[in-house]
């Protein structure tokens, strides 16, 4: 194969990031003995191939995306990301400074780096994504929010050039779809840049100057006419070809853009769509496949002007399109378009002078020949062949891996091709290929040649061994990743498939008060239990998320969440892991109830697959470097929720009056208060309890308790409903006791409540305020629903035509409004759950008088409206009226809460 006839020389190494260079942005150009190189960083290097030394390094303000060289004018145009196009003059004088101090010729880097200042920025535009230079015209492609915009500028010529942008000729918009911007707001297009190049008809001398750029070729007359139409062919207008990341291949006649009015002509844009590759276009080029052209080329020196008879475009994922002119049955000339699929992802590609196209993937650099290999030398016969393009492509490997940018050097002697390649590791190399490789001629070895040959072989061995070790590593990593993935899938299936019954991996949460560093802290204990057949290995994380709900009383507060992630190193079947966390220590040490704890298992794909992917596909770094969240974000993985648990006031209440006997409740005063204060209070209490009574409660709480009436809320629930719901509680005790037991079921006090048959408890909230809970039962309906005040006998009358409905009233009372609200909320939540369950069981509500219900509803609506109005007023008004409004608001809330809520 080609390997026998190829020679690889390493020229230099350039620094590269840890993951290797990314494809798409590095560029390498070659003119005479100078190589112009950018490796996707902010540097542009100029390397002399003959002297094997680095001539200059320029530093730009941002990543360099594209290079174009105007060899005649000795100017290098550089597209700098988010900045625009810079123009560097390559005159020797301007580099004089560099050469005087460039003594370190052996080193990879010269002693100084030239920062490029903004004066040489000729086209400042942050949205530019691609450009190409054609004689005096600079064609740029910028990304708008919904469209690509192509602009043409004239670059003023001559010595009196000023660095400011030349005059703009015209502008044209492409309505290709722009991929939606990434989650981080950065447009995805930065992954793939559009490709711009220029196809000229033969002999369009006006535009022809030897420019050295990645794009730009001369197309044979026939193909040009077929592709772009008679008008463009007659006017010899070069065509600008654009390959977009969405796969469209468009063309615009350059001459149509050169007049200022084109910006004006709206609907009649000269843009035509040539083809749609349906994947990002990474390369557009042209080839000379006709053997006759190639023969002609052998006689004449290689010339840029030799026209190409085949145009190709290559997509990132390996779809390739080739167009050639061919004769159909009737004898008409038609463009023949063929699509090929080569193994992608394609990192870069380049066309040589002949019929070969070179392209690089992660693992290999390959060459395909698009010449039709009909072995007849008879020209007529070739003309009559039906397909002028080969039906299938047979890529030949060149055994060079991970080349991120390629260019075909024009310096190669006749019969050879020389490729300039930059590998992902930052190595610049040349690869010389013998084009007449088919008949490998026996070569008589001279000693000099033997030396050369040995050198080549050694270099080849080095290259192959690098490739082998690289591939091996990649395979190992992939295997490992696959094993891990398999296990993860097993676990996921087990968790997700059987929804009935207990889950094989479960998490139970309990809360308790405990004392840390003289402070009482509410802790939650999550117990992860693996009763499945699989073990949870490396890669799994136990995630506990604690959501603190926003406190309704503070207007601006937003609920916050704390996430604890605990790596599960090894959890074999049957084993458990317990995690205890402190709850609700926000910055001021308060506990914002209710707190929701949600547990989940997370399997990070990045951790397992990331290594495998990055090692082999690092060349694809546009995926990872630029927008990791899109492809494999850190949080991407398998997420298996295990359950949710809410901690509310009822769970956190403590009952010192009840618990003295059994439970040693630590320090009664505010558990979250200052330890010093706690100490002082405790010692005072020891000294003189009587005294303490007089002195201690001077805080605002006390004052509030003394001068403000306690806040009260109540809820009425139909006895029937409760009886049905609380069957297991009701068997021995009256309904009221059962209700209280049910409410405090998750509190440790529940045992005492059970034993003492209580209907009323006095508790302490976490912040030390008293809370009074009372459950009453109405024996016979008397009271009216809307009566205010303390009624001991409650029942809901008039609502139901069948007579009063027996109801239970739950009354909550606390000097602190906030605590009362929290308890109210907790009670309502429980009742809500209960009602849902009951409704699911299909119990019927009693007959109701609808107009009463309606009236209740209307009352509530009115109150709600008032609340909204007041809240809005609170936002806009100044302090004085705001406080009045706040007071009003409180009143309304009070009305809402007490005692009008009924549950049937």
């Amino acid at each position: 194969m080609a390997e026998d006839n190829q020679r690889v020389d390493y020229l230099a190494g350039f620094c590269c990031p840890v993951g290797g260079l990314a494809a798409g942005k590095p560029r390498v150009l070659c003119h005479e003995s100078e190589i112009y190189l950018s490796n996707g960083s902010e540097f542009v290097y100029i390397y002399n191939q003959e002297g094997k030394l680095l001539n200059a390094v320029y530093r730009f303000p941002d990543q360099v995306w594209h290079l174009e060289l105007l060899a005649l004018r000795r100017e290098l145009y550089v597209l700098c990301a988010r900045n625009g196009i810079y123009c560097l003059s390559l005159d020797p004088q301007s580099r004089l400074v560099n050469q005087t101090d460039g003594e370190d010729k052996e080193g990879d880097f010269p002693s100084s780096v030239f920062p490029v200042d903004s004066d040489s920025c000729v086209f400042p535009d942050a949205t530019l994504c691609a450009f190409t230079v054609l004689n005096d015209i600079i064609i740029t492609l910028a990304q708008g929010p919904s469209k690509w915009r192509m602009r043409l500028f004239e670059q003023p010529q001559g010595s009196d050039r000023d660095p400011r942008p030349g005059s703009q000729f015209s502008e044209v918009e492409f309505s290709t779809c722009i991929l939606p911007s990434g989650s981080n707001g950065k447009p995805l297009a930065s992954r793939f840049l559009p490709v711009l190049c220029c196809a000229s008809p033969p002999g369009s001398s006006v535009f022809h100057t030897p420019w050295c750029s990645s794009g730009g070729f001369v197309l044979e007359e026939t193909l040009f006419g077929l592709l772009f139409g008679a008008d463009a062919a007659l006017l010899e207008s070069p065509m600008i070809l654009c390959g977009f990341p969405d796969g469209q291949l468009c063309c615009v006649p350059l001459k149509a853009l050169l007049s200022p009015e084109m910006a004006l002509a709206g609907p009649e844009t000269p843009v035509k769509i040539l083809h749609h590759l349906e994947e990002p276009v990474v390369f557009i080029g042209a080839l000379r496949t006709d053997p006759r052209i190639l023969e002609d080329m052998d006689e004449k020196p290689l010339n840029e002007d030799t026209s190409c008879d085949c145009m190709v475009a290559v997509g990132h994922y390996g779809k390739m399109m080739a167009i050639k002119s061919s004769r159909e049955e009737g004898g008409n000339l038609v463009p023949e378009l063929r699509e090929y699929y080569i193994r992608g992802p394609i990192l870069c590609a380049a066309c040589g002078v002949g019929s070969r196209m070179y392209y690089s993937t992660h693992s290999d650099l390959s060459v395909v020949d698009l010449a039709c290999n009909s072995n007849s030398s008879d020209p007529e016969k070739i003309d009559n062949t039906q397909g002028v393009l080969p039906p299938v492509l047979s890529p030949a490997s060149l055994s060079i891996c991970s080349v991120v940018t390629l260019s075909v050097s024009s310096r190669a002697p006749k019969g050879e091709a020389e490729l300039l390649a930059l590998s992902a590791k930052g190595r610049l190399m040349t690869c010389s290929l013998d084009l007449s490789s088919e008949d490998s001629r026996p070569v008589r070895m001279t000693t000099g040649k033997v030396g050369q040959k040995i050198k080549e072989l050694l270099s080849g061995i080095g290259n192959v061994s690098e490739r082998v070790s690289f591939l091996k590593k990649a395979v190992d990593q992939r295997n490992r990743a696959l094993t891990c993935l398999n296990e993860a899938m097993n676990v996921s299936c087990a968790l997700l498939s059987n929804r009935e019954g207990p889950k094989p991996i479960s998490c139970t949460t309990t809360t308790a008060w405990s004392r840390f560093q003289l402070r009482d802290v509410l802790t939650a204990t999550c117990l992860l239990e693996n009763s499945s057949d699989y073990s949870l290995d490396q890669g799994w994380t136990f995630c506990i998320q604690v959501f603190t709900s926003s406190c309704a009383l503070e207007v601006d507060s937003v609920g916050s969440a704390i996430t604890y992630t605990i790596p599960v190193d090894q959890l074999t079947p049957g084993s458990k892991r317990e995690v205890t966390l402190p709850l609700g220590s926000n910055e001021n040490g308060k506990l914002d109830l209710p707190v929701t704890i949600s547990c989940a298992l997370f399997y990070s794909l990045k951790e397992i697959l990331g290594s495998a992917l990055t090692s082999s596909d690092s060349l694809d770094a546009p995926f990872f470097d630029d927008c990791p969240p899109d492809i494999l974000p850190d949080r991407d993985g398998i997420f298996l929720p295990l359950g949710e648990y809410t901690v509310d006031m009822l769970q956190c209440l403590r009952f010192p009056s009840l618990a003295v006997a059994e439970v040693q409740v630590p320090g009664l005063p505010s558990p979250t208060s200052d330890p010093v204060k706690t100490f002082l209070e405790a010692s005072r209490g020891q000294v003189d309890p009587e005294h303490m009574k007089n002195i201690e409660p001077m805080g605002p709480d006390f004052l509030r308790a003394k001068y403000l009436p306690p806040s009260v809320a109540s809820v009425k629930v139909s006895s029937e409903l409760l009886k049905n719901a609380l069957k297991e509680y009701c068997s021995e005790v009256p309904l009221c006791c059962a209700t209280l037991q049910w409410l405090l079921a998750e509190n440790s006090i529940v045992d005492i409540v059970k034993t003492q048959v209580l209907t009323e408890v006095q508790g302490v909230a976490p912040d030390g305020n008293d809370i009074h809970l009372l459950v009453r039962e109405a024996r016979n309906g008397l009271a009216h629903l809307f009566l205010q005040g303390n009624l001991y006998q409650v029942a809901v009358t008039e609502l139901c035509p069948a007579g009063p409905i027996q109801a239970v009233e739950i009354q909550m009372e606390s000097p602190s409004l906030a605590n009362m609200c929290r308890v109210h909320h907790a009670v309502i939540r429980r009742i809500q759950v209960m009602i849902m369950e009951q409704a699911a069981q299909g119990s019927n509500p009693p007959d109701l008088r609808v107009q009463y219900l309606r009236q209740i509803h209307a009352n509530h609506e009115m109150l709600l409206k008032e609340v909204q109005l007041l809240r809005d007023r609170l936002c806009v008004e100044d302090d004085a009226s705001a406080s009045a409004a706040a007071e009003k608001l409180l009143q309304v809330y009070k009305q809402l809460r007490n005692p009008s809520l009924i549950l049937l």
Binding site: F228, G229, A232, T269, P270, I273, S325
Partner: protein, 665 residues
């Protein structure tokens, strides 16, 4: 520096800093705009714009708050004003920016985004608008209006103004009169609030924007009515625009439009006055000259018409400066560039030159036509790039200009008419060399029926279109025809005959589908050559193919006549007769073919046949001339004129006499 009574105490410092930054940037810009020349303005504008964008970015990075909104909206309006001035037009980005700004306003007010998507309505109906916010909001209304006007949505603007004014009058307690639909009166009623002294500095206030909108709306409305054909309405709107304050270039446009309107209304003298006015307002302007040419053409003053066109070519050859950025937003910015169909579109130099050349050809000033055509070709092929290579229109596929090959063909025929046969040959050769490869070997029309519909399947290569292929074939055959005529002019009969035959060979490559069957069944070869099979299928073809088919038939006839004439010159009358006969059959309505046939028959002494033909001709002469006459391409018309029979009248008189002789006794 009090940022307003409701400013939260949280960040008055930041608010003040931001405000100062805005004021400073605007001040910086105002200084730069006053003191620097035209050339430095864009740089300064870019700098200030970057600053404003940065500030806006920072403001919008925070959650929206009512207290910051007036500043934020002001900065947004400033950014938009400067940005639009710099890019010289309003773009979609600007609309998105405004939309985002409005969303933030609603967000700050706590108003949910309306389902209908009408953010403006939701904002102006919201009770939370503070007087501080009203000022920048009105500014944004103005900018949005400018956007809508340039986007040609005047109705949206009218609706928005209604909403704005309703909320305004509701506040002030004055009841609004009947909401009028008329945008102009709404605009003149709109009364944006005046900026207070302590408000953040703005680049362009809402009142000046309102005046700009008013002029623009009047002008655009006038243009629209003119386009639709409501000439009276157009006249009144345009006169309103002409009376309002507007810059000179716009005034020139308004007067040109008035001229066009009056011309259409049949007041040529008044139209001329307005055109004169337009020329005074802006020297070196193309549109009034073109309009004048149209006017003179309508009046039949060919000399004046051609003079106008010559002036037009000259005016357009002066490279126009690219428009300097406009600050602040003015009427020019809001007027969309004229569409090619508009009376304000002067086209490019090449277009004007083409118009001049073809008018010269049509009016028989062949010498000048040739010069103009040659200049045009030179301009198209290798005009200096610095002049902006004005061939765009010929490549943009617009309907206003002929295709490039047709320009070549017209040049060739003009050259033949003036007797420059060698040059004509060169032009034809050039054309043929470029398109000969695209000429189909065989063209079946009507294949499968669907092949003419432009298939939307992934981008067919351009030449796959069968009508394009037919065009190529027609051009190539016409080129051969002209080559034949040029050879004939040079006296090289053999070459001429060869070229005519080649032309016919190309033309007979086109086969209507299904014809082959008819031909075999009917066996009537002569009938097959005439156009009626094609015309019976006409409905199936798109119109461009229809016209192309007519051109094809006519080309066939012309080529046959040309060949026949050569045979006559050779003395082979029998062959000539055959060609003429075929010519008449191919194109029955074509009088010229019949005349030639008549001539030959007369000369061959086949008097009876001649008389029969003559009688048929006489009877046809009463009927209408072929309606496609005016639609044929210029090159074909001119070519048909050159092969006209010279001694037509004498022949016809002789025939009439001989007819009378047998009939009188």
């Amino acid at each position: 520096m009090s940022p307003g009574p409701t400013a939260p105490q949280a960040h008055p410092g930041c608010l003040r800093l931001w405000r100062e930054e805005n004021d400073q940037l605007v001040g910086q810009w105002k200084v730069a705009a006053q003191h620097s020349g035209q050339s430095l303005k864009p740089q300064a504008a870019h700098h200030v714009l970057d600053g404003l964008r940065g500030l806006l970015h920072r403001l919008q990075g925070l959650p929206s708050a009512l207290s910051v909104l007036p500043l934020e909206l002001t900065v947004l309006a400033n950014t938009l004003t400067l940005g639009a001035g710099l890019t010289q037009r309003f773009m979609k980005d600007h609309a998105l920016d405004i939309h985002r700004g409005l969303e933030r306003v609603l967000d700050a007010m706590g108003v949910p985004l309306p389902q209908s998507g009408d953010l403006w309505k939701a904002i102006f109906q919201s009770p939370f608008i503070t007087p501080e916010m009203l000022l920048p909001l009105h500014l944004l209304v103005g900018l949005q209006g400018a956007l809508w006007l340039t986007d040609n949505h005047p109705g949206d603007l009218a609706r928005l103004l209604c909403t704005v004014m309703r909320s305004q009058y509701k506040e002030s307690g004055v009841p609004l009169l009947e909401p009028t639909e008329d945008l102009l009166s709404l605009l003149s009623m709109w009364d944006p609030p005046i900026g207070e002294l302590d408000a953040p500095v703005i680049l362009q206030d809402a009142r000046s924007l309102r005046d700009v909108l008013l002029t623009t709306a009047a002008f655009l409305q006038g243009l629209h009515e003119l386009h639709v054909g409501n000439l009276l309405l157009a006249l009144s709107s345009l006169q309103k625009a002409a009376l309002s304050l507007c810059p000179r270039p716009v005034l020139a446009q308004v007067h040109t439009a008035l001229g066009a309107c009056l011309r259409k209304m049949g007041h040529p003298q008044r139209a001329l006055l307005h055109l004169l006015e337009a020329l005074k307002a802006g020297p070196g302007q193309g549109p009034p000259l073109l309009e004048a040419a149209r006017l003179y053409r309508q009046l039949g003053h060919t000399t004046a018409e051609l003079d106008s066109l010559r002036l037009l070519v000259e005016a357009l050859s002066i490279p126009q400066d690219s428009r300097p950025p406009l600050f602040p937003i003015g009427v020019e910015l809001l007027i969309p560039p004229p569409s090619p169909a508009s009376c304000l579109y002067a086209g490019t130099q090449s277009q004007a030159r083409y118009l001049l050349a073809s008018r010269c050809l049509q009016t028989g000033r062949n010498g000048e036509a040739v010069e103009q055509y040659l200049d045009l070709l030179a301009l198209l092929l290798d005009g200096p790039m610095s002049q902006g290579m004005p061939c765009s229109v010929f490549l943009s596929g617009g309907s206003q200009v002929p295709r490039v090959p047709e320009v070549f063909l017209e040049t060739a025929v003009a050259l033949i008419i003036v007797g420059r046969f060698h040059d004509s040959l060169t032009v034809c050769e050039e054309l043929l060399s470029r398109i000969v490869l695209l000429v189909p070997q065989k063209l079946w029309l009507g294949q499968g029926g669907a092949s003419f519909k432009s298939s939307l399947s992934p981008a067919p290569p351009l030449s796959e279109n069968p009508s394009e292929r037919l065009c190529c074939l027609l051009w190539a055959s016409a080129a051969h025809l002209f080559q034949g005529q040029a050879h004939a002019g040079l006296g090289a009969r053999k070459e001429a005959l060869e070229e005519f035959s080649r032309c016919l060979e190309l033309l007979f490559r086109v086969q209507p589908m299904g014809r082959a069957v008819d031909q075999d069944a009917g066996g009537d070869k002569g009938q097959g050559l005439n156009g009626d099979v094609v015309s019976s299928n006409e409905d199936e073809f798109p119109s461009e193919i229809c016209l192309s088919m007519k051109v094809l038939q006519r080309l066939k006839a012309v080529a046959l006549i040309s060949r026949g004439l050569e045979w006559v010159a050779e003395g082979q009358d029998a062959r000539a007769l055959q060609d003429f006969l075929l010519g008449v059959q191919v194109c029955p309505g074509y009088r010229n073919a019949s005349l030639h046939l008549l001539h030959v028959l007369w000369r061959l002494e086949r008097k009876d046949d001649a008389i029969a033909i003559y009688q048929k001709l006489e009877s046809e002469a009463d009927q209408q001339q072929d309606d496609s006459e005016g639609l044929l391409p210029q090159y074909l018309e001119s070519c048909m004129n050159c092969i006209g029979i010279t001694e037509q009248e004498s022949l016809l008189q002789e025939l009439r006499k001989s007819l009378q002789r047998p009939s009188s006794p």
